[in-house]
Amino acid sequence: MFGYTYDAENKWHRFGKLILVTAVSLTTLVYIWWILAIIIDTPAVPTPDLVWAAFNKLFAEGDIQTGLSMWEHMFASLKRFIGGFVLAFVIAVPLGLLIGYSKFLDEFTRPMIEFLKPIAPIAWAPVFIFATTLTLGPILVVFVGIFFPLLYNTIFGVKKIDPNLIDAARTLGANNGQVFYKVMLPCTTPFIMNGMRIGFGIGWMCIVAAEMIAPLGGGLGYFISLQSVLSNWPYVFVGLGVISVLGILTTGLVDYAYRTIAKRMGME
């Protein structure tokens, strides 16, 4: 068609197709949204033109109710997100390696983990926030959101290690510590990355829930809840869009790292 032949083995053709499909997909989404907004006809579902106007206003003037710019809201949320992630990472990964390694620890901690895991991280929000502080609470909520997927995947990763690799390392003279660092850790890395990938998605849900309760110094979750409380629906939609983009960026980053590592290890 149009005298053009798509070549799946050409990198530029693939890139062009990706751009085209993404553009058409997003345009379709906007059209569906616009048409639905008109049909539903309520201020709670604003049309895209109103949201676009709100977007421009917010990024030009900031959020004048709180006196914070959108960047400051984003930064506030991102700080909590990174805090929660770092905390989850430094606890879940070593713990997961140990639990995966030790049969006793696995049996001992399994009832606890199985009991705590089904509790939605968002349900912890009020508990953590009022049990600790407004500063630490939201970070802990994000922590719980990321902690369990990370822990689970790490444990799973350790259990999936080919025992032959450990035997091979030991017959090559590696001691227990070297087996841990030079075999178990690299073997588990793709699984840890996968846990992060899942955890990041949940982390963003948690941050919104936590900031609705503890909005110290702003944040996107607070911005959204404040605007919905005031019926400023176009602003709410801008907030939702910004969170989505931040979510895509952070998850995309870890996804890229995961795929790079998986490729190096020949997992594909």
Binding site: N164, A168, R170, T171, L172, A174
Partner: protein, 252 residues
Amino acid sequence: MSYIELNNIRKVFRKDDRETLAIDNISLSVDKEELVSILGPSGCGKTTILRMIAGLTDPTSGEVLVDGETVDGPGSDRGMVFQDFALFPWRSVRKNVEFGLEVKGISKKDITERVDRYLNLVGLENFADARVHELSGGMKQRVGIARAMVNGPKVVLMDEPFGALDAQTRNIMQAGLIRILEKTDQTIVFVTHSVDEALYLSDRIVILTKRPAKIKEIIEIPWPRPRDRASPEFTALRKRILTELEKENVMN
């Protein structure tokens, strides 16, 4: 004097409260620079014997001696080559071969020198920086052999090393192993279920019974290597061993 000694080895496995006698009182000695193959019906405990020499499995009773010392746990003086290669996928070919020297804390310069030598020996000098998943099966096992030998072990334990390869590659690998032995005089204990392979490579073949494994017969192969698989004495001996093994077939 024997270099590797197995004295009255028994091995009992427990699973779900049921005990199974896997190895029943095996004694065997291997001389220095000898290549001994262990041949037997599948599931008879060949690999278990190899793992006991490596120190990865303890015998229930009896003891294993290597160069006069009792085996207690794995060590770099007993290298092992695995059927499924067991290469570290996150490391390059060179880094895989380096592993044993690296954990020993040998200086970078010495490591590079030795690794180059062994990569040459197995013919992978042009693939030093390749990633493991880019290699063919035969190349992967050559990495496995180099990795086990670079440490200068007293013995290399080979657990059906060519079992996962196609017939043609297997023949090439066998010939390659013989060329390596000409240069290194390495002591090797070799587990296989291929009579042809055992005959082609070994100084002696140990034939095991079906489980619980006992030594059925030890056959000396006096012919010099490389051997002609088509020669009458080769085919005759192969036929005899196959007949012996047929009697041990668990299906009977």
